[in-house]
């Protein structure tokens, strides 16, 4: 098991190398001179040259990449060209907020998909099963930013129950429980609905599959109570693919949530990348995408580990 983990972790830097190379090439393929854009047309050649030197833009492409990789190996992701700060500091500010949003979205997804999936499987072709199917279909079809707008319209504007902004603000950090959590509600629902749809569908079909297995018949033949049969015998089996997919989806979240961050003014990783692209802030783009990719890779490895943990038949 540990050797498997080790092997997987070794592959991480290789993939990251390719990812970072891709990001690097994309940024360097940008038309126009980034320094010019940054400093404006009225700048002196000396200032421009100085900036170019500071960010290694006067070197050849392979040199630039090599230098960047070398710095990353020491944990230095460089400085933002636009904001006067080290990239690592910016990440330290933004990553926790993104994680909080992603967790909120995932929590919502789990809270809805687990009961819905189980009940839909137990009561096939009942009204709740159709509700479940309808919800999952809509969850797939309506894009998360569209859903966000709908929710804002209904719950914020018309009903005035929930706030729109507030994540990452000072007020939210220090206020009471409601002030801290309420800004997350609409974004979490908008963000997590797609995951809910996928997970519900997965759990439902997984449960249906499990319920038709021979060992369920044995459990019934033992005269066990229905709750025991569903939770201990069925769910434990059905949750295995569910948990692994949930872990993978969580890994995707930070990348997906950029539209949500945009709508709700959340100072997270995604919106930082957005701004960096507009501002041609290469170090930020490279550093942030690297971290987001690391997160995704780790989530995938976690998913595999969870699978091994939950299924006693799997031993790496």
């Amino acid at each position: 098991m540990w050797s498997y983990l080790g092997r997987r972790l070794i592959q991480v830097p290789l993939v990251l190398l390719v990812v970072s190379l891709m990001t690097f090439l994309i940024t360097r393929a940008t038309p126009g001179d980034p320094v010019q854009i940054m400093l404006g047309m009225q700048t002196s050649p000396e200032a421009a040259a100085a900036m170019r030197k500071e960010f290694n833009l006067d070197r050849s492409l392979p040199e630039q990449y090599g230098l960047w990789v070398a710095k990353v190996a020491t944990g230095d992701l460089g400085r933002s060209m636009r904001l006067n700060d080290r990239v690592t500091n910016l990440i330290a500010e933004r990553l926790p907020i993104s994680l909080r949003l992603a967790t909120a979205g995932m929590l919502f997804a789990l809270l809805v998909s687990i009961p819905l999936g189980v009940i839909a499987a137990l009561r096939r072709n009942s009204w709740i099963d159709y509700l479940c199917t309808g919800y999952t279909v809509l969850g797939f079809a309506v894009p998360n930013f569209g859903l966000a707008l709908i929710l804002i319209y209904v719950f914020s504007i018309k009903l005035d129950w929930l706030p729109i902004t507030g994540i990452g603000t000072a007020e939210a950090e220090t206020g009471g429980l409601w002030k801290q959590f309420s800004p997350f509600i609409i974004p979490a629902v908008a963000l997590g609905t797609l995951q809910t749809a996928m997970l519900t569908r997965l759990l439902r079909s997984s449960m249906i599959d499990v319920l038709s297995q021979d060992y369920m018949r044995t459990a019934r033949a033992k005269g066990l109570l229905p709750a025991t049969i569903v939770v201990i015998h069925a769910l434990k089996n059905a949750m295995i693919p569910f948990v692994t997919m949930a872990a993978v989806q969580f890994g995707y979240m930070i990348g997906i949530q950029v539209t949500i961050e945009y709508i709700f003014a959340v100072p997270g990783m995604g919106s930082a990348v957005l701004n960096a692209v507009v501002n041609r802030d290469f170090p930020v783009i490279q550093g942030f995408t690297l971290v987001i990719s690391i997160f995704f890779l780790l989530a995938n490895i976690l998913a595999d580990m969870l699978y091994a943990l939950l299924d006693p038949r799997i031993r790496y």
């Binding site: 297995q213 021979d214 060992y215 018949r217 044995t218 459990a219 019934r220 033949a221 033992k222 005269g223 066990l224 109570l225 025991t228 201990i232 015998h233 434990k236 089996n237 295995i240 939950l310 299924d311 006693p312 038949r313």
Partner: protein, 323 residues
Amino acid sequence: MSLLSVRNLRTRFATDRGDVRAVNGVSFDLAEGEILGLVGESGSGKSVTALSIMRLVPEPPGHVAADSLAFDGRELLALSEAEMREERGSSMAMIFQDPMRSLNPVLTIGRQILEVLRRHQKLDGAAARKRAIELLEMVGIPSADKRLSAYPHQFSGGMRQRVMIAIALSCNPRLLIADEATTALDVTIQAQIIDLVKRLTRERGTSVIWISHDLGVVAGLCDRVNVMYAGNVVESGPIRELFHRPGHGYTLGLMGSTPRVDGTGARRLTPIEGMPPNLIDPIELCPFLPRCRVAVAACRAQPPARRDLDMGHWATCFADLPT
């Protein structure tokens, strides 16, 4: 007084092509301590009969009815589901064909034994563990205390079936139903399991319904045999009687297609030609008629009636069969 009394059991399944009559009027008795064999090919209704007795048939699409289904004097069909749950696993138990698929792969063996003890005998903690170890030793599993924390995939096929037997017998049931319990096992292991069941049930006076398509297995184990075809019992009798003097065309066919080790005369195996009937359309005459080698004129004129051949041996067949 028989332990189990089945009268006119009818189980059907609703499908979009019509109702499948899986069990079409089965009646028999099972005495205390008796080992009854239920023999027939796939689709004959033997498994469904067993599931109907345990009331494990999913309803819908299934539907179980009977004039009487009396177990230990109580009408099983009149019991509520909660009451049935009290019986299952405690007074009546069942083991199934494929022990790998019949045991939950993510739960330990210990867990799967303990939960029955906890449920029906209210045992817990150390007492339950002790009993579980006793049970595993009883069925011949070595290092029983270590095995409790093992998972099904870590056992061999024969050992898994032993575990199933241990679970089934854990609460001392009056009735044990074994549905093709040895079919998925190696021949040598089969013999061990059969001996184990025979010994344990004789010791406890447990009645057994042993379901199989293998006449040889049945011959070595059972006191009586019911032969089933197309949802009916077509012949019933003590084991020796049946083998000596089969009274139904189907039984005769089964014997002719079974290889014999004692080599009574080198003869070719004669398979039974044709296919069993679909169980949706009602059958007017004898269901075996299209495939029968010994049919007589009467068979084509009217449905066969039950004919007593000897003490406790009857068959629903017009033909006069040679011994």
